[in-house]
Symmetry: C2
Subunit: 453 residues, 2 copies
């Protein structure tokens, strides 16, 4: 027999039943909340034509795309025509362009599907991971940003996160701050890379890095004054916004960005997301397609974020030829689950036993009745397993039932059958009792419900 | 702007909201039933190491596997190291080998995930499609086959299929029949290909094809006698089985197969799957890994099957080095949905509106209150959308609400606000009424529930 490795490919995982139950729990909450905000489900294929993806994520992103070899006679060419989905936003932009006549004027969709990136695998970073996206297409109103933030805040609240922070900024404000600091447009990309490291390397580090990237001493000092908090309470979003407004006075695009942030701020005060909100002028977000508001959610004990998003009014235009305003937010399923597991946030019901009743037979001739009783018990809405192998001793089924954490075991034996009874064992108390075969399903269902309380 | 094609890749589909709701409905039923039989969820990565898949599906299968190009410096080699999942059975076998110490002795798992095959796309056949698999590992008991058939029958029953037929055969019986008919082992594969076409080309066609494939005239006649029904009622599974037993008398493996089929038949009589069951000696099933019982479910108005499965006691051994008995069944999600749509079998609730209430503002200053009211309505378990753009006239939001089939629209205007009211419009009756802003959420919720009845 040939024996190949049985591990899943590097950077991917198998999800055993307990893993799936935790994932399903989180996805159920995400779906319920997204739907309560009027978002509708969408799914796209795992792979796209390769030209749909290339050139959308920047040079680094392009390198991380999994490419699929041509097939048949073209396989020998060694070239690719398809590629695995890298995020859910570019496929959405394609869908909006393709079905523009079938979709509502404001299309609000959610999408919970895996994406694949050929990143170097490391702790908490996988090559296959799920994104939970909401996006609203077709409107430039700040109501969109406010509703997105309301929805993701409510997801995290229902999952019992109590300490997350929403960082909010605007791409235009970022550019305007650099303009006002005297960083020339040609160096702004470099400057953002340096400023993005503020959390990691501190103000001195950023200062060194800005200068090494060619930003003048004067502009570097101006950047530090603009981007590094000046001692005011960062939790006071209103104060942060006024500070930003002062810095950007007289800069047209900057002033527009401040007005937009102000509108979002006044709206989130109405849906409960405001207590979490910080205006953070240093928030940059990597992806190049953002054009307006950008946002990110983080908790203190996880490096990086639980999710992020922003406005991208030009991306659909790359497929459609005319622009469609758009704004979205993506929650990272894996990162949420990592924190919830480390903090023990999953409710007990998530890890409950997968089976309510297991039926074992002491003899093959009793198996037909075991299957019949199983049907009756399923009619009582119970999850029922029939132990497939019969035998005089019931240590094997007993051991199996203990391992699977089954609360109630039913034993069918010849003696019981002759008396018109079945034996029912409470696996917790180990008390075994006889129940008349007629009406056994109802009696056992009552006992299971009792054992479950 | 570059404009690439916005269609999904050949053989794949985008699923718009109504599609997803239909798919979710079917998957919910599948999951509920599978869980009620004690099966637990499992998921595996979209791709596997390429050597895990190659050589498991036969020569034709290997050609249909999507292969993923190596990355980074190895991309130029034009070779593949990963491949997209072709079915859910081989990954399961790998998982059972990998986690043998963590899994219960009898591992019963279900798995609902997409698979990818580079088939030529045609009506109802896709390159990305979902399989809904249940498999039980670790037991050779016929209880396993009976429970699998019970579960898939119950799925179809709950989806209101009333006319499906389960065809049951045994791989060993198939070989034994060919032995008894005098077809030499070297020609049995060829003979099966011919016999598999019985439905399509009739007895005469099979006769011609057997002879053209080198089967002797005598053996051909014997095959036809064995495989073509002799006028007995095919719905009488007991009679079919006795006929098979007679044909295989004296053939050891054949007799074992008959005993196994008899055991399955006696068990399914207890869980309700028997009324659908036919013993069909001509059922072959393509995949090479089957070793015992094979089964298939079909309805008359769909060529091919809704699903199929069988026993494959050797596959795990290809990864583990020791054999683990296994048996499974796979329902094809797409084929079920095709039939349900053509027959109009989806309940009305599946296509209900995605939103219960839409709120529109006549003025931007009312937007904060719109978001607040939306939060209150979500607290009443309603799905609420805020129309993002305000305006004096409400023909735009009205048109949008009609298009989205929203039952109730709430209008916030300055006059109403001054009176401490909001306007509520029943979209069906077009009756508009004023509701006090205090307690509006409860009143609107009552109205929505009324409109929904």
């Amino acid at each position: 027999m040939s024996q190949t490795s049985t591990k899943p490919p590097s950077g991917t995982r198998d999800f055993l039943p307990d893993d799936i139950r935790r994932r399903e729990y989180v996805m159920r909450v995400v779906r319920d909340v997204y739907e309560s905000y009027g978002f509708e489900p969408l799914e796209t294929p795992a792979f796209e034509n390769i030209e749909t993806l290339l050139g959308k994520y920047g040079e680094e992103g392009d390198k991380l795309i999994f490419k699929i070899l041509r097939r048949g006679e073209h396989e020998a060419s060694g070239t690719a025509d398809l590629a695995l989905r890298y995020d859910l936003t570019v496929p959405l932009a394609r869908v909006v362009a393709q079905y523009q006549n079938d979709l509502p004027r404001f299309f609000k969709r959610y999408q919970i599907q895996p994406v694949w990136r050929a990143d170097r695998p490391q702790r908490g970073r996988f090559r296959e991971f799920y994104q939970c996206d909401i996006d609203a297409m077709g409107s430039t109103s700040p109501v969109v940003e406010a509703e997105l933030l309301g929805a993701v805040s409510e997801v995290l609240g229902r999952l019992r996160f109590e300490d997350f922070v929403i960082r909010l900024n605007d791409r235009r404000a970022l550019t305007a701050l650099l303009d006002c600091a005297g960083v020339p447009a040609s160096l702004q990309g470099e400057a953002l890379v340096a400023l993005d490291k503020l959390d990691k390397i501190g103000a001195e580090g950023v200062e060194r890095e800005l200068q090494s990237r060619g930003v003048s001493a004067e502009a570097t000092q101006a950047c530090l004054r603009s981007f590094v908090a000046d001692g005011h309470d960062p939790a006071d979003a209103g104060a942060s916004l006024e500070r930003l407004a002062n810095l950007l006075q007289g800069h047209d695009a900057g002033t527009a960005a401040v007005a937009s942030l102000r509108a979002i701020l006044s709206l989130v005060a109405s849906n409960g997301a405001d207590a979490r909100l910080r205006i953070d002028p240093s928030l940059a977000r990597g992806l190049s397609y953002y054009t307006g508001a950008i946002m990110e959610i983080a908790v203190s004990d996880l490096p990086g974020s639980l999710g992020g998003g922003g406005r991208y009014d030009n991306l659909v235009g790359m497929f459609l030829g005319r622009e469609v305003p758009a704004c979205g937010f993506s929650l990272g399923l894996e990162r949420i689950i990592v924190v919830m597991q480390e903090r023990g946030m999953f409710p007990a019901k998530v890890s409950r036993a997968a089976v309510d009743v297991m039926i074992a037979c002491l003899n093959d001739t009793l198996q037909p009745d075991a299957l019949k009783l199983a049907s009756e018990l399923r009619g009582e809405k119970l999850r029922v397993e029939v132990f497939p192998e019969s035998g005089r001793k019931f240590d094997k089924p007993l051991k199996y039932a203990v391992a699977r954490n089954v609360p109630v075991m039913v034993i069918l034996g010849e003696d019981e059958q002759q008396r018109g009874e079945v034996a029912v064992r409470d696996m917790q108390t180990r008390v075994q009792s006889a129940v008349p075969r007629d009406g056994a399903a109802r009696a056992i269902a009552d006992q299971v419900r009792l054992a479950g309380t």
